[in-house]
């Protein structure tokens, strides 16, 4: 009385009410041995097929990550293919750009790329853009700000092209490979995860197509539409180039030692503290000097964040740092550690790292951050993007995110670089607002933001050379002379967004 046939009318009625079709038996099972099936995954295609299948059109936004930094091969490869296929008027939204991306200049001239969104840029590309190469200003955001912008739709990515050192035919991708054919390693894919999650279409480019399932993976097959096998996604040996170097300069060492003393006497150097160091010689060195202080006082850090370096990995392996939270591996040692120590070395997406509107982002629980600077001004504002000659030559990175969220932000910079004063009346471009900066450490003394008088007292009591920041400015100008005002044109070539999405500053073109 109650067979499927008897219920047919009721099924049809419910289907009609729900606006759904009625199930019809049919089709056949694929009985292929599954390892064979994997080899013909419909997701594995050539780059040109992938581009066509994504439905990419002129005027759309494409995105990339910069985990290979100066060794990246994906951006130039994909943009060259897009140019060859005749695409125009694309916006390139990369997590950052490096010196290796100078071929973009030609594609900008040809009209293939007409918009750029990035954390920073260097060398020939930055120079050309500073001189007015593009009609549309480049949009600069911090890493946390980019994460937020992708989440809330300020950056809408149509197609993401993401390089991965390993990927299986279904799209499970990682920043390292466990196969014997491994060609490259970049460690964390933290800056690619927002793109993979929010882009309309996602293409993984890999130089090591591994067996399914590729575990653990940073990017899930759920987010991936196509997989393209290429010869090389990047040169791992060039990751720790550019801004990341281990300095042997006596001045950097002096500044790093002073910064370590500042931290040890700040009141935040307590058991369970968390820390981060940015790029730049002195900043990376600080960890080395903090290590001894931790051993002497018998204290341990709960986690280190970043920007993970070999120094951080060493302290973690010695038991001095509980966990490493890694949005970007700054060298090969860090990348290997992420691969080999999944319990102690956590990979995080850009928004979990530093977004202002992600309550659980790691920066919110950061005690101490050490950051470098191109310029600091007498109001403690910091510039890390535009050189004192007005030419773009750096990247925002997580600078404003970590300065704002940490309990103690320490800026390390020399008083002078060559003849260029680093402590100035007003920064060339405002990147990190002074109300988020606590201490500036130079080779000629330590300046404490007047907002933190209790900190100044502690550092003075510890015997540190605490000086007024105006004295540092006067000393720099006394040695170098007063710089002539820069000659800017009236074309806006760059827009700097605050991490919360407001427009914080603009960059004008330079005039030679």
């Amino acid at each position: 009385m109650n067979s499927l046939k008897d219920r047919a009318a009721a099924i049809a009625a419910e289907a009609a009410r729900l606006g759904k079709p009625v199930y019809k038996e049919g089709g056949s099972k694929d009985t292929t041995f599954r390892a064979e099936l994997e080899k013909v995954s419909p997701k594995v295609v050539t780059l040109e097929e992938a581009i066509r299948k994504t439905g990419l059109k002129d005027g759309m936004t494409i995105s990339f990550h910069h985990h290979f930094r100066g060794g990246d091969k994906v951006i130039n490869m994909v943009v060259a293919k897009l140019a060859e296929m005749g695409f125009k008027n694309l916006t390139l939204a990369s997590s950052s750009l490096a010196g290796v991306h100078s071929p973009l200049i030609e594609y900008i001239k040809q009209g293939v790329i007409t918009g750029i969104s990035t954390s920073g840029m260097r060398d020939a590309l930055a120079d050309a853009i500073s001189h007015g190469l593009m009609e549309k200003p480049v949009e600069f955001r911090s890493h946390g700000g980019r994460g937020s912008a992708i989440m809330n739709g300020d950056i809408h990515i149509d197609v993401a092209f993401l390089g991965a050192p390993s990927c299986d035919p279904l799209g499970n991708a990682a920043g390292y490979s466990r196969s014997e054919n491994a060609k490259s390693i970049c460690g964390s894919l933290g800056y690619a995860i927002p793109d993979a999650h929010y882009a309309d279409k996602v293409v993984i480019l890999t130089d090591d197509l591994v067996d399914y399932p590729n575990t653990p993976c940073a990017i899930s097959e759920h987010d991936v539409d196509y997989v393209v096998v290429v010869d090389s996604v990047g040169d791992s040996s060039k990751i720790s180039a550019g801004a990341i170097r281990d300095s042997k300069s006596p001045r950097d060492i002096l500044i790093a030692q002073t910064a370590a003393k500042v931290i040890e006497n700040s009141g935040y150097f307590r058991d369970g503290f968390s820390m981060q160091t940015g790029t730049g010689g002195a900043s990376l060195q600080v960890v080395k000097y903090l290590r001894q202080g931790m051993i002497d006082r018998g204290i341990k850090a709960s986690y280190a964040l970043g920007g993970i370096t070999a120094h951080m990995v060493k302290l973690h392996e010695e038991g001095l740092i509980g966990k490493l939270i890694d949005v970007q591996s700054f060298d090969k040692v860090a990348a290997e550690s992420l691969k080999n120590d999944p319990l102690g070395h956590k990979e995080v997406a850009a928004y979990e790292y530093a977004s202002a509107d992600e309550p659980g982002s790691a920066t919110h629980y950061l005690d101490i951050v050490v950051l470098s600077a191109l310029e600091v001004d007498v109001n403690f504002n910091v510039n890390v993007l535009v050189g004192s000659d007005g030419v773009i030559r750096g990247a925002i990175g997580g600078h404003p995110d970590t300065a704002a969220d940490s309990a103690l932000s320490v800026i390390v910079c020399p008083l002078l670089r060559g003849r260029i004063p680093c402590v100035v009346d007003e920064v060339t471009t405002l990147i990190t607002p002074g109300n988020t900066v606590d201490v500036v450490v130079t080779d000629f003394g330590v300046a404490v933001n007047p907002r933190r008088p209790e900190l100044a007292e502690k550092l003075k009591a510890a015997g540190l050379n605490v000086v007024d920041i105006h004295d540092l400015r006067n000393r720099a100008f006394g040695i170098a002379g007063t710089p002539e005002p820069l000659k800017f044109g009236n074309k806006v070539v760059g827009i700097v967004y605050n991490r919360e999405g407001s427009v914080q500053d603009v960059i004008y073109n330079v005039v030679d």
Binding site: S388, D389, G390, R417, G418, R419, I420, I479, A480, G481, P483, E484, L486, K487, V510
Partner: protein, 93 residues
């Protein structure tokens, strides 16, 4: 004062290389290439000119390649180049 070709300084960061040659025409001619030209080009020219005039050199061609040298370094290199170009030791006089 007879001027021969001479050079002083290096291309290291923080230094300036000063090449000095007999003048093709009257006056001091400075061909300056500086990494800090945008901020200090005028000051560098001023220091070179003042140093030359202080040494009583008024007709000369200077090629200066600057890597962010301070004024004291610029004066020292220009002076050394003039001493080598003229054979006249300004320090012992």
């Amino acid at each position: 004062m007879e001027i021969k070709n001479a050079v002083a300084g290096t291309l290291e960061s923080g230094d300036i290389m000063v090449q000095i040659a007999p003048a093709n025409s009257e006056g001091i001619h400075i061909d300056l290439d500086s990494s800090v030209a945008a901020q200090f080009g005028g000051q560098i020219r001023k220091v070179i000119t003042e140093t030359l005039e202080g040494l009583n050199v008024h007709d000369v061609d200077i090629k200066a390649t600057d890597k962010g040298a301070l004024d004291c370094t610029i004066r020292a290199r220009v002076t050394a180049a003039v001493v080598r170009a003229t054979g006249k030791d300004v320090w012992s006089d």
